[in-house]
Amino acid sequence: MLKARDISVWFGTRKVIDDVSLELEVGRIMVLLGPNGAGKTTLLRTLNRTVAITTGTIELDGVELSKLSRREIGRNIAVVAQENETKFPITVMEFVLAGRFTHGAAFGWESADDIRAAEKALELCDLGEYGGRMMNELSGGERQRVVLARALAAESKVLLLDEPTANLDLAHQALMFRLVRDRCRNAGASAIVITHDLNLASEFADTIMLLKGGTVYASGSSADVLTKENLAEVYDVQVLLDANPASGKVRVTTVF
């Protein structure tokens, strides 16, 4: 579905992404792990062309990304990023409807379908009654769920999520990942998620890609990637590994 080959990104004279390739298949969740500054966000942003690649190619369904218009990219790829606060009083509903921009004409009003999709997305994110509330009155966690709702309302084939659980409580972290997995399993979408939570990554990822200094340090299943040696090398921490008794997936415990 989304395929990147040998991509590099230079910011001025600094190489931020160094020869990375990845392939995201339909229905799959890929998690990007790595310390701060490893290039996770930059890599994610190249995938919807909001950061330009210096070399390499990216293809969406076999078509080169650089040949697609902003609108076509936005139609197929939705993003969940850290929201930057707006100074204007806008409602949650208005915010979520922004996700429907590529579905109708560039001007005019949203259709009944758009409203339905937005309402459904809010419902899914446990925000059913929030449509009329103002964005600047919400807590950080509520806002983050609104940002997810906007991406779900877009009903796109690919979801790119940059630390979607950073402000969420335990229950909503799980909800967030369940919603993303549900989209991938049942609606034919696929997702790339950046997180710092190794255990959430282990639970939900089909593939994990561990980045270090702009290159891929390790890539594969959680069992392949989340090893003592890899984590010691990339994060410079000692960890204990065992199996999560509920799911059998790798569980990571940091040794302080």
Partner: protein, 316 residues
């Protein structure tokens, strides 16, 4: 939906009412339906073009302000404060001093000046960390003072009689209104407000954030160019006809947003109508407050706008 229609209705009625009021009041009280010959002359040659021009200028400045605010994600963005009006004023002045014989030199150079000032402020205010309120306002101040000094330099080329008229005009003045000025501003406001309203939905996304807008399919660069061009057109034609009437683009969109929320599909057209009402009423005050002498309308709008700017700055 009903609320939307009701607001349209209310604003249209209010505009008609304001126009009637402005046409009746002045240093000479006129009964519109019973005019003597001299009164008819005052009415059709002086007051009629003045009131209509005021309406167009208000609509231009308010819709330009509303769109610039959404684009720059800053409720304090205003053509006058950003130096856009001064850019247009300098363009007008150059046309006035050097190309007086060409009718279209004034609006064209005003448009060019407004565009250049907009672009400069935008480039100055934007940094790698994005664009914050203070940086934008400061850039506006710098550009404004720089342009003002060039304007002052150029006024030294004028003789005393023209200088007085020009000083008034710089402050924003409708007393030199002509039907030609009105037609020109009307053309500007019809094109500008319609094109800007057509960009209202992408502007809604850009108001949330430029990166968010890119993510969800907005051609941000194209929308920015269109809004800059149209805001420059609106401000250029308004300033060429009436000088720099300040703060209209700040006060009016703010009040409109308080009434109906931040959706630009409503804010831009409603600001246009409310701006027309506001300037027509402000000019009526300017004409009558110290009759038979007059204030420039820009003094009246600034008297209301400056305290409001401080209030908005404190709150942001």
């Amino acid at each position: 939906m009903n609320r939307r229609l009701f607001t349209w209705f209310l604003l249209t009625v209010a505009l008609l009412f304001a126009l009637l009021l402005a046409l009746s009041f002045g240093s000479e009280r006129l009964s519109i339906f019973d005019l003597s010959e001299t009164q008819a002359a005052i009415f059709f040659d002086i007051r009629f073009p003045r009131v209509l021009l005021g309406a167009c200028v208000g609509a231009s400045l308010a819709s330009a302000g509303a769109s610039l605010q959404a684009l720059l994600r800053n409720p304090l963005a205003e053509p006058y404060l950003l130096g856009v009006s001064n850019g247009a004023a300098l363009g007008t002045m150059i046309a006035f001093v050097f190309f007086e014989q060409f009718v279209f030199a004034r609006p064209l150079l005003a448009f060019a000046g407004a565009g250049l000032a907009t672009f400069t402020v935008y480039q100055m205010a934007r940094s790698r960390a994005g664009m914050n309120v203070e940086r934008l306002v400061l850039s506006g101040v710098i550009v404004t003072t720089f342009l003002s000094s060039i304007i002052v330099l150029l006024t030294s080329l004028l003789d005393a009689a023209r200088l007085r008229g020009f000083t008034f005009w710089l402050l924003g003045d409708l007393s030199q209104a002509t039907m030609n000025g009105f037609y020109m501003t009307l053309a500007g406001v019809v094109i500008g407000a319609i094109v800007l309203t057509s960009q209202a939905r992408p502007l809604n996304l850009m108001m949330i954030g430029e990166r968010d807008a890119l993510d969800f399919g907005v051609e941000v660069g194209r929308v920015r160019m269109i809004v800059f061009a149209m805001a420059s057109l609106l401000v250029g034609t308004a300033v060429a006809a009436s000088g720099s009437v300040g703060y209209v683009g700040l006060i009016v969109p703010h009040l409109v947003r308080l009434a109906i929320g931040s959706d630009n599909r409503l804010v831009i057209p409603f600001s246009a109508i409310a701006g027309a009402i506001f300037v027509v009423l402000a000019d009526t005050v300017a004409r009558t407050a110290i009759a038979p002498r007059e204030l420039p309308v820009g003094a009246v709008t600034a008297l209301i706008g400056a305290p409001m700017f401080i209030y908005l700055l404190k709150r942001s």
